[in-house]
Point group: none
Chain length 410, copies 2
């Protein structure tokens, strides 16, 4: 028996006026998602707890079966892991953005106009030249404005605040220690110095001069957030004796999966954006199931559409996810494969934020206790046979179907 | 966005033979409660955990988002707070009843025939004269037979038992320490001495002589229960950055709300009894919503009807609550207000006690994920889109709608 988990990032939503009071999932044409619901058992999931808006990282930790209150150590380390940065115990990593500030260090754009990866790479090349005493600095840009800052060396702490003020129109925050330790104070100071030196390099950089000419946002600062150290997880192979793989284009999700002992499968054409090659992801999943017990496939852009408030774009992304699910279920042996579909959180098109509303889930496969739900959506699944679950319960539920959970007791 | 929570005390029930196997909620005419269900999302709530009968204090603590197993410190302190008694850390407070005992200290009536507040006040005046060495004694009668005893001074403990045997026909219990500490032993001894002295004053009191003449129960003893110290709560303003108010006529509930950082709004005509002025409570709620993010309005008498086994009275009280909800939803801006209706526990007309059965809940407001439930009742709501929740999850659920919960993760 095998299992595939399909995660539409931020796919769940609230009723939207523009859609006649329906959610994007409710209006999307989604024959394959509905097929999973109809042939399977449905429910809703509170990823962390009712009302608590999850991040993509904590949500995926929960969906992989981890207690986030005990294991979560910040975004930075997970994103570093997922970006192929070699993070070791004791290191501290940050998620970074290239951003745009004015002369007063007030943030004008938090993503430097979603700068193209090529421009960002050219800028990053010069940031990598910065050296500090005793501390090894690694800066890696990933996709578009996104990047990783890794500090390695003795006496570091992840208990430091963000320089990212998280809002346009606010000034860049000073990085301060979040506890009274020498390590936190020292780390905050190091980061402050480093970001200052980055700014010196960026503000007069030829790439930015060129961007200004073109009327584009200048990537004149690096904002950092989510300082984190490596989490201490019992991997899925160790926990359940399975081989597991993840297919996704987002470093943060990849990092969670890697920390859980899953192998990361890179798919050409998987972009983490609207143009992602959904067929390629489906085919990679179909291939991966042959050599793994569990395959997680994650699609990002449904979340991006919500953050951008793009209603029709979100509906279309859900329809793309539906296509992907259709291709998967037609091409894996459904006589021995369980397919679970869910989201990692609700992202509201209205508030453009992650919200704490539960997400729908449907699981099809051999001998699940089917219910009478025939539609994959927030409201339909709420009436399903799985009832209301927590995120942490999905993995044991699937592993139980696969015969991989151990009896507790005699 | 604002939120109103309407709590019908003990409003939930079990099917009643006298009502043709229906519950009081099921037979009551309740167009407004049904409107909340129909336009909203429904569910059932286990206040503490399935099968555990909650007190009004623990139920309200849970509904305000607190883990009762970690925060509950006994009824006395909460009731003292709600009665305007100035309780400080280290103090121990008891909920008290004026009651009637025979010559063998067997309880004849636990409420001295629900003695009028005026008679109780006259008796209390003389109890207030009692002095002890090193310990400051405060006795305050509140409504009818109800009162508060507060002990202030060094070396006290709330770990002492009740003198109230909780049943008619039983003898008054000796107050004993509930742990091995010197403080608990000392406190038990102090309370015993004090209650003895109260009895001496009461048994020959002119007020009681007069009551006997009229054929009324003599309030010849004070029964105490629920020894408690101040709970240590993170207030709602601190937790969510909101302003919150509570409208109710019951000191115990008021105390919980005050401990949670809510301001208490006194409403003329709110009696905590069948004759409570429901219009005045509705109007106070409508007014309070203007200056607060969250308003809790509590109606007591549905619970009293159950404790008294009065079936029709309970149905009528539910209809009064329905009137109140109708007046509220017609007069607040429902475009920016969430209204949640629930009960703090099931009180069975048959057993006349709090029971551990879940209570119905319905939440209406902008962009909730409506379900197909059209009736506010125990059985109808159990099929609703919220599923089965815990009491502690209601507040995060509402605060999520108000955009007041913080994202956990990135």
């Amino acid at each position: 028996m095998k299992a595939v988990i399909v995660i539409g990032d931020g796919m769940a939503d609230r009723p939207v006026r523009e859609l006649g009071g329906k959610t994007p999932l409710e209006v999307a044409k989604k024959p394959s998602l509905n097929w999973v619901a109809k042939t399977g058992v449905c429910g809703v999931i509170d990823l962390i707890a009712p009302g608590v808006p999850p991040g993509s990282d904590t949500a995926h930790l929960a969906l992989l079966g981890y207690d986030v209150f005990k294991t979560y150590t910040g975004r930075g380390a997970l994103e570093a892991l997922g970006s192929g940065v070699d993070i070791q115990p004791g290191d501290v990593a940050f998620r970074c953005n290239f951003a745009t500030v004015d002369d007063n260090f007030t943030v004008v754009d938090r993503r430097a106009g979603r700068i193209e990866t090529q421009d960002a790479s050219e800028l990053a090349r010069d940031l990598k030249k910065v050296r500090l005493k005793k501390i090894q600095v690694t800066f890696k840009n990933t996709v578009q404005h996104r990047g990783i800052l890794l500090l390695s060396g003795p006496g570091l702490s992840a208990r430091v605040s963000d320089s990212d003020p998280h809002k346009i129109g606010k000034r860049v925050s000073e990085v301060h220690p979040l506890d009274d330790t020498v390590e936190a104070k020292r780390t905050a100071k190091i980061v402050e110095e480093l970001l200052q030196r980055f700014h010196e390099i960026l503000k007069n950089h030829p790439v930015n001069a060129e961007r200004k000419k073109k009327g584009l946002f200048s990537a004149n600062i690096v904002l950092c957030r989510g300082a984190g150290a490596l989490p201490d997880l019992t991997t899925l192979p160790r926990q359940y004796g399975i081989q597991a793989a993840a297919i996704n284009a987002v470093p943060l999700v990849g990092g969670v999966c890697k920390a859980a002992g899953m192998s990361l499968i890179n798919v050409r054409g998987a972009t983490g954006s609207y143009d992602t090659d959904i067929e390629a992801k489906a085919d990679a999943t179909i291939q991966a199931v042959k050599s793994h017990d569990l395959v997680l496939v994650h699609v990002k852009a449904s979340d991006i559409a919500s953050h951008d408030g793009k209603v029709q774009q979100k509906v279309r992304m859900i329809e793309k996810i539906d296509d992907m699910v259709g291709r998967i279920v037609k091409n894996v042996d459904m006589g021995e494969t369980f397919v679970a579909v869910t989201a990692d959180h609700t992202t509201s098109l209205l508030t453009r934020e992650h919200e704490g509303d539960p997400v729908p889930v449907a699981i099809t496969g051999p001998c699940v206790r089917t219910d009478d739900i025939e539609e994959f959506s927030e409201r339909a699944c709420a009436r399903g046979g799985l009832g209301r679950m927590r995120g942490i319960d999905l993995m044991p539920t699937l592993m139980n179907f696969l015969g991989k959970t151990e009896k507790f007791g005699a």
